[in-house]
């Protein structure tokens, strides 16, 4: 008998399957958002759910994030486990009161008497010329706010396990998937974003980073799409005898500082790569986590590679110029390793 684990799922199918697994065993789980039912989500994250669960539990909403993210918070506090899809993270503005002031704070404001088991699932990332209001990642915008957990998968296996943990968590979780990792037929995706995925339910705990590639000469700490760019860089550097460790954060809140520190203590060199804006972001947080614990583990100054502090250009040459990529990462690692000698 063939094992079902030889199935290769795209990240979009893995997310939908994780949701389906939980919906089959927990009647309080439901999904709502724009075009998530009949269409299956514009990035495929709810594909096939309407057919199995029906329109009571898979609910298309009007284009009003203010209304349906707010409704999600209320439903979560009333005992449901809603998953609401914010179609593009860039559209957070009109529902930020519900996210920042209600979802994030109501557990605390109620003295712990109310839970808010809400998942806000949202699409991030650029690289496909969709301009400044459809290409942001905004990792730091959500990781910054106390009370929100933040999951950021880089591949199908992690995407399913993190979705299941997000649904089971009693706190609100921002679940941020990169459009370019979803494996959609109309958007290029790195080959390794699609992985073997068991069809049973399994949970990957929030707050556990993963060493995606072990190495001894330098540590790249990264997440989401940039895991794949960093792995390309690591393969390139290996040809020149530079052995890079790549740490995939997988979640930003809780942040697995222990795994980051352990890796940097081993290699002595740190390069942080993020697709979000450079200033006041994930890159600074990671570097600070290491330096404030023990700066003497560093043999060279830490480096960060992120999106420059400008709105994301529409023009393909301009956007590609600004995005971190394997070539820039390779160069940053080379400089860091050279200066460390």
């Amino acid at each position: 008998m063939p094992s079902k684990s030889n199935r290769i799922l795209t990240m979009s199918h893995a997310i939908a399957e994780g949701i389906a697994n939980e919906m089959r065993t927990d009647s309080s789980v439901f999904v709502m958002g724009e075009d998530i039912a009949a269409y299956g989500g514009i990035f495929g994250a709810t594909t096939g759910l309407l057919a199995e669960f029906g329109e009571q539990r898979i609910r298309d909403t009007p284009i009003s994030e203010t209304a349906f993210i707010g409704a999600g918070v209320g439903a979560a506090m009333a005992g449901m486990r809603p998953i609401v899809e914010l179609m593009f993270v860039d559209f957070f503005g009109v529902c930020m009161d519900a996210i920042y002031n209600l979802a994030a704070k109501n557990i605390y404001f109620s003295g712990g008497n109310c839970k808010v088991p809400l998942v806000i699932m949202t699409a991030t990332g650029g690289g496909y010329s969709d301009a400044g209001q459809h290409s942001q990642t905004l990792h730091a915008t959500f990781a910054h706010m106390p009370g929100l957990k933040v999951a950021v998968p880089s591949n199908a296996y992690d995407a399913k396990g993190l979705m299941i943990s997000a649904i089971r968590d009693d706190s609100p979780v921002l679940y941020m998937f990169h459009k370019g990792l979803q494996g959609l037929a109309w958007m290029a995706s790195p080959e390794k974003a699609a992985t073997e995925v068991p069809d049973d339910a399994y949970a990957i705990p929030l707050g556990e980073a993963k060493v995606a590639r072990p190495g001894k000469d330098a540590t790249i700490v990264t997440l989401s799409m940039m895991v794949h760019r960093s792995m390309e860089a690591a393969e390139q550097l290996a040809k020149d005898g530079i052995d890079v460790e790549v740490v995939d954060l997988r979640t930003l809140v809780p942040l697995d500082r222990a795994t980051v520190f352990k890796s940097v203590a081993k290699t002595g060199r740190l390069i942080v790569v993020d697709e979000d804006y450079s200033s006041f972001g994930v890159t600074a947080e990671i570097i600070t986590s290491v330096v404030e614990r023990d700066p003497t583990v560093l043999k060279a100054k830490p480096r960060r590679l992120a999106f420059p502090d400008i709105p994301i250009p529409y023009s393909r040459p301009m956007e590609q110029f600004a995005l971190p990529n394997a070539e820039k990462i390779t160069e940053a690692v080379r400089e860091t390793v050279k200066k460390g000698h």
């Binding site: 008998m1 063939p2 030889n6 290769i8 037929a185």
Partner: protein
């Protein structure tokens, strides 16, 4: 041996003559069960699932992103 062909009449070819293989869900040479969803086709932005007609070893004839029409042979399954 069973053939995996794009079913005739799957979509209106007078409007959209061609589609593509959006994804294969098993690697070439994998063992699959009868009825397993092995591939999806993308026509405009509509997705069609393709299932295995029999159990056995999957051989991919049209790779991901390859262009297909109704009737195109996209793979075959050698009986277990």
């Amino acid at each position: 041996m069973s053939e995996i062909a794009v079913p005739e009449g799957l979509w209106d070819t007078s409007k959209t003559p061609e589609g593509i293989v959006g994804n294969w869900f098993y690697r070439d040479g994998s063992m699959v069960e009868a009825g397993a969803k092995v591939a999806e086709l993308m026509v405009e932005k509509t997705v069609f699932d393709i299932t295995a007609p029999a159990a056995g070893e999957l051989h991919i004839l049209v790779p991901k992103d390859g262009v297909v029409r109704p009737g195109t042979l996209i793979g075959r399954i050698d009986g277990a």
